[in-house]
Point group: none
Chain length 200, copies 4
Amino acid sequence: MPPRFKKAEAEEMHSQTRQLLLDAASEYFSKLGYEKANVDRISKAAGFAKGTVYNYFTSKRDLMLELIDSIAASHFEFIANSVRQEEDPVRRLQRFFEAGFEWISANLAQGRVMLTTLNGPDLDFKERLQQGYAPMFQLVASEILAPGAESGAFRQVDLMPTAGLIMTIYLGFGATVDEQGRPPLPPEQISDFVLHALHV
Amino acid sequence: MPPRFKKAEAEEMHSQTRQLLLDAASEYFSKLGYEKANVDRISKAAGFAKGTVYNYFTSKRDLMLELIDSIAASHFEFIANSVRQEEDPVRRLQRFFEAGFEWISANLAQGRVMLTTLNGPDLDFKERLQQGYAPMFQLVASEILAPGAESGAFRQVDLMPTAGLIMTIYLGFGATVDEQGRPPLPPEQISDFVLHALHV
Amino acid sequence: MPPRFKKAEAEEMHSQTRQLLLDAASEYFSKLGYEKANVDRISKAAGFAKGTVYNYFTSKRDLMLELIDSIAASHFEFIANSVRQEEDPVRRLQRFFEAGFEWISANLAQGRVMLTTLNGPDLDFKERLQQGYAPMFQLVASEILAPGAESGAFRQVDLMPTAGLIMTIYLGFGATVDEQGRPPLPPEQISDFVLHALHV
Amino acid sequence: MPPRFKKAEAEEMHSQTRQLLLDAASEYFSKLGYEKANVDRISKAAGFAKGTVYNYFTSKRDLMLELIDSIAASHFEFIANSVRQEEDPVRRLQRFFEAGFEWISANLAQGRVMLTTLNGPDLDFKERLQQGYAPMFQLVASEILAPGAESGAFRQVDLMPTAGLIMTIYLGFGATVDEQGRPPLPPEQISDFVLHALHV
DNA sequence: TATGAATGAGAGTTCATTCAT
DNA sequence: AATGAATGAACTCTCATTCAT
């Protein structure tokens, strides 16, 4: 089936070009911010000419939105995989922070895009990001806090606000990592701090 | 002494125009971010023509830097005044969060400028902001945590990292306030959470 | 080889657009001077939108510098070609003035740009122009005066200062041409005057 | 007569302020050219506030025009005084160049304004300057060349074109003086050159 | 007379986007 | 699918000029 084969190949190429553009976008959006980053340079950095971006994304704005989606998905997947390998809620919370900072240090540019977007002035971007991060929020509430409260490992707390607090702490520290992606406090101490606060 | 009087009047006017421009800048920088905010509209919003900004600030960038200084000073002064009215370290910590969120809800635009700048891509702005916030950092470390650790109210912790953690939590929640400036958790619960974590 | 052909075509277009812009720049810089000439109008006069200039030159300043280079090269080439067709130093000197004024009257705008730049306040422009005109200076010194002095056609003079004097006279009269490019004295009389001065 | 006295004093002050402004204008127009020179800085350099310029001149353009007049008058007066101290046409010609370069080196800024204006793109300025320099042109024609031709010291030449040629040479060299106002050739050599050309 | 705050027209420059190739 | 020349809106900044004091 040569045509099929060819089509698959073409799709692969398509998807690869797309990914190269997203990666370059990550780099520039993180370094310069959305406004100062420039489509020409992103495209060039990915190895293409300016116009190519518009064969894959309808606009610079669309490029950013799709990048946000892709970052949120990758970030969530990595943390969820790690957290779900544990059963114990306390260990799960520790894993959450460990895996979280591990992802950040392995994906510095994406991490910065996420954090600047979260605190940035563009409400469309912010909303899209929050949609993307809803699963992570859920993970903390229903797969870490809920079982922990049920098992008596944590004191009784309101699930959603406390999940929010934990996300806030995670993201707060995520925003303060150094150039190698290390937080100012080791992840263990951060989870210790939170565990202290959740302790019965 | 009419000339003296006149001079004072002139200086008053000068300083007032300057303040009007800083306020308008606050508004626009917070709503649109530094890049999209536009000098013409800022000046018009303050009641002046476009060129007037350049009689008071050397550039848009300078306007932003001076705004950062002014925000940091006002923010610190408000919190320090409130914190220092208490003697007890536990009450001081509570006051820190109370006053902090009170300032934010009374200065929403400034608060947003501060938070977007802190997480934004512009390193000059970030550095200037960090210089401006150094006193607040000091306040937490040496006027809240140190006496608390000494009096036995808090467990022994490393001062600076813990001050950083508290600032991170404060700013993290500061970034999540709603349109009326209310944090998702009441300040008491946030300080409770931290106090739990600091408890002996 | 269609791609080759296409490439050559593209380069041709590129170079043509560039030349149109340089020509329009000549026109405006000569009529209004560098400061009052305006990029928008230059671009429009060349048949393009304002932004197009910046696809070919990095700035208005760069446009001017490249125009200076192009003028100096064209001016020198024309004069050198004419001078070198003669062997006799006296005839060469006459040709120098004849060809010089011929070039000026055929390139009025470029001539005016050259002369205003030479006497203008911008030192960068001036320096660039002097670099561009160094070959013409050389031509006078080593291909006209030196052989003339050697053959006894001219009296013994210091080569470089005298070359400077001749250039000064040429440019001085170049600056006084009328709207059709005619100098106030016919070129023959000018070279006569100089020949009188150089006569043994 | 106190009122009279006062009035004279006031006029003196007026005239002095005016002169200070003209001097500062000279400085800035020569250094930066008319377009880039800026009224505020000229006024400040003269020791006044921006607005003061407009109490003495109707516009920046008017300031320039009056400066041109003042330069031409001073330049002519200096040269004419020197030339007229001689009787011999040959000596007069030598004096012309000597005094000319002496004036230039003692009035560098004014000299540069004159020369850039002469070759600059602004036709109003140029015309005003030519009006101002008409007397000097006359001086050369009727007080140097005419008596020289009559007495047989010079060969028969057309007066006005030759006066133009001499002015062109003078101004051409004037445009090439170094930072101390010295021409590339000593004035004696320049007048020698011209005398050679005029010799019977 | 001297001042300098305010003005706003006008400039150079950037860059997202289009589209013919 | 990939290109990159062309576009023009939008932006920051400068500065001659006015005018109330």
